[in-house]
């Protein structure tokens, strides 16, 4: 490269077609991060429409709005979409954008591999949705239990599409995970030691290790299923020729439980960045948060069979997996206390981002507590496959992960775009989300305890079932309106939003040291890193963190 700083070169205004091309051919981590996030948001809307269709069908007893076959396809696509096409890509995209900036790097370790990962997501997602036009979408639930997913019981090509596209997505995720790990371990700017990494980077590191180690379990399951379906194999057949349907469940949940933490840990990372900044206090117990994450990462591989209490694995196994699952609540609880202690005595600014972070604390804790009740396997037997499970997982994944994603969106949007999101629309968006979310899912705990099975197309008019379902459906549509407000907010703010300064929130991590949005090369000069809060040190040369032994 020449000595002329890139920013001082004249910018030609690109032809629209070239602008398009600059995205398609991009290997820049910021552009790829944005591509990941917008693709994920698009699929979030698809999954959201599917959720509304389901709630419309369930609003009243014995309704015929959807056919049973359509309903099966829609709940399967909803789950698959939200996990693989929204949850993972939005978090990987966020990490893609932020990790290099946070560690003072120019890009990820392998920019072309990064683009490859993204395009696998793009085409994998298209392939999954193409199944609607190719003979029907998958219709056996997002975990496709064998033997139902086997050829004799499900001839729909949707399941082949499901398995193939998840393989494509899985390969992309593993590549992205490897890329992020190598980036974090090898590209940190001088002074950015492992113990000074922003917690979001810490969480990304552990998540990426989980991705690299857990996705193969899903991939093995998928290739075995495809061999059964396409080549007449006998893996999960349960016939005289051998095979075991339980093996599908073991391998699926050996992936599936770590997957929960793949979706939760980056959310913890977002919360650990947002809460200190809006409490005007450094994070409380940095070391505990990082260490408890490592503990969660390890434990998450040892609790999978708590999804299989109804299989009848035998009492000793049930006890072991129940104990392990309860154990995992401890490192998670440690984090909740750390975040509350960070807020304690801070001067809190109730921005939309902070409100979402506080919402996360409350609703994720509720989801965590119902999770502990499910680890008690006699309770699990009672509510297995009911709406209690649906309520639990949505408190964890919507009240937890999605709330954190929204907190992160309001927090980093100025960095991504150079414009602030409207706080006024933000407050509407937040409160409608809180009301819609709780109205939808709180009553589902009760429905589950009353025995309403999940994934049932419709239901008889039993006492309370009608009214509770109607409340839940109304909540879902309020949630839909909340998301519309968010879309309007993004749309309006992109065009007319208040211009963002480099560091509009007075934050302390390196991504705020560069312009908003950052130039292609990220930094003209990375500020010295001598503590966990380099920008605090920069602004307070008389009272830097590294003087207090926080280095």
């Amino acid at each position: 490269m020449s000595d002329i700083p890139v920013t001082s070169l004249p910018h030609a205004i690109p032809h629209p077609r070239e602008r398009m091309m600059s995205w398609v051919a991009s290997v820049d981590h910021k552009q790829i991060g944005i591509l990941y996030m917008t693709t994920a948001f698009f699929f979030f809307l698809c999954g959201g429409v599917e959720a509304l269709l389901m709630r419309a069908q369930l609003a009243f007893p014995e309704e015929h709005f959807l056919s049973p076959g359509a309903y099966d396809q829609i709940f399967t696509m909803h789950g698959t979409t939200m996990v693989f096409l929204f949850g993972m890509p939005v978090l990987i995209g966020l990490a893609n954008y932020l990790v290099p900036l946070m560690i003072g790097a120019r890009d990820v370790a392998f920019p072309r591999l990064n683009a490859f990962s993204y395009w696998l997501l793009f085409f994998g997602g298209l392939m999954l949705y193409f199944s609607f036009f190719a003979g029907g979408a998958p219709n056996v639930g997002w975990f496709s239990y064998a033997p139902l997913s086997e050829k004799p019981f499900s001839t729909s090509p949707g399941i082949d599409y499901w398995a193939l596209s998840l393989l494509v997505l899985g390969i992309g995720s593993v590549a992205a995970g490897i890329n992020l790990i190598v980036t974090i371990l090898t590209l940190r700017v001088k002074g950015m030691t492992i113990r000074r990494l922003p917690l979001f980077v810490w969480m990304t590191l552990v998540t990426s290790i989980l991705i690299v180690m857990a996705l193969p379990a899903l991939n093995v399951d998928l290739v075995m299923l495809l061999i059964d379906r396409k080549l007449g194999g006998n893996f999960f057949a349960m016939a005289a020729t051998g095979g075991s349907a339980i093996l599908w469940q073991h391998f699926f949940w050996a992936f599936g439980h770590p997957e929960v933490y793949i979706l939760a840990l980056p959310a913890f990372g977002i919360i650990s960045e947002v809460i200190p900044v809006f409490s005007r206090k450094a994070i409380f117990g940095y070391g505990y948060i990082a260490a408890s994450t490592v503990a969660i990462g390890i434990l998450s591989f040892a609790v999978w069979a708590h999804h299989m209490f109804a299989v009848g694995l035998g009492r000793p196994w049930d006890v072991a997996f129940a104990a392990g699952s309860m154990l995992i609540a401890i490192p998670t609880g440690v984090k909740i206390f750390n975040w509350i202690a960070t807020m304690w005595g801070g001067s809190i600014r109730f921005t939309t981002s902070m409100l979402y972070a506080i919402g996360f604390l409350i609703f994720f804790t509720i989801g965590g507590l119902s999770g502990v009740t499910l680890a008690v396997f006699p309770i699990d037997w009672q509510v297995h496959d009911t709406y209690y499970i649906v309520a639990h997982l949505h408190y964890v994944l919507f009240g937890g992960t999605a709330f954190a994603v929204f907190a992160g969106l309001y927090y980093w949007f100025p960095k991504f775009t150079g414009r602030m999101l409207s706080e006024r629309l933000g407050k509407w968006n937040f409160w409608l989300t809180v009301i819609g979310f709780n109205t939808t899912f709180m009553v589902q705990h009760a429905l589950g305890i009353l025995g309403m099975p999940r994934r049932a197309w419709t239901y008889p008019n039993l006492p309370y079932w009608g009214i509770l379902n109607l409340i839940s459906s109304i909540g879902a549509f309020i949630l839909g309106i909340a998301i519309l407000v968010l879309i309007v907010n993004i749309w309006v703010s992109l065009k007319h939003g208040e211009r963002a300064s480099d560091n509009p929130w007075g934050a302390w991590s390196l991504e705020w040291a560069t312009s908003s949005p950052p130039p292609p090369e990220n930094f003209e000069k990375v500020p010295p890193v001598r503590s966990r809060r380099p920008l605090w040190d920069l602004v307070h040369p008389d009272d830097p963190d590294w003087l207090h032994g926080n280095a």
Binding site: A109, I181, M213, A217, V220, I227, N234, G242, G243, F251
Partner: protein, 183 residues
């Protein structure tokens, strides 16, 4: 830390998990199902053993190639790469002959759980050997230029990591699938 080596180590960890679970599935079915035919009645450990020796030896020739590379003996590297590729290809030919033999005795992937798990496990391994051969061929092609080898020593080293991995996986598969028949 070299980023290419680290990335390959992580990739191998991921692939290792994949094979570990396939092997686990094989062992599980081997131990729990008695559906005929089973490994002991149809596999020929001696014949496959001879071809396996080729694959094991290819790890040695690969390492000799890396030694030459470190000494900047590029002609030596090319020689050992060719040897590695030939040994790897011999192994694949052996596997092909074995498959053909089994197929002629009507033992297929759909016959029973032994067929399914055997062909899946060894097939995925064979596929990995094949991909390794492609990588080594690319290294050999690029290695015709001195410039490349002088600048990209790591590329060849990283390829050798992958090759050793494929070899180690076969040590486990050979033990579990072929030597177990003697028990």
């Amino acid at each position: 830390m070299n980023r290419y080596k680290l990335a390959m180590v992580l990739f191998i960890l991921s692939e290792g998990t994949f094979f570990g679970l396939l092997i686990l599935a094989y062992v599980y079915f081997r131990a729990t199902t008695g559906s005929e035919p089973i490994a002991a009645h149809v596999l020929d450990p001696l014949k496959t053993g001879i071809f396996s020796v080729c694959l094991f030896a290819s790890s040695g020739t690969m390492e000799l190639g890396i030694k030459s590379l470190r000494k900047k003996n590029f002609a030596g590297l090319r020689f050992w790469l060719v040897a590695t590729i030939l040994l790897g290809a011999t192994f694949l030919v052996g596997q092909g002959m074995e498959y053909l033999h089994l197929y002629r005795s009507d033992i297929t992937i759909s016959r029973n759980i032994f067929g399914t798990s055997f062909f899946t496990l060894t097939g995925f391994h064979g596929l990995h050997v094949f991909l390794g051969l492609v990588v080594l061929l690319i290294m050999l092609g690029l290695g015709m230029s001195k410039d490349f080898l002088a600048k990209h020593e790591t590329a060849v080293e990283v390829a050798s990591y992958y090759w050793h991995f494929v070899d180690v996986v076969w040590v486990v598969i050979f033990t579990v699938v072929y030597l177990w028949v003697f028990l």
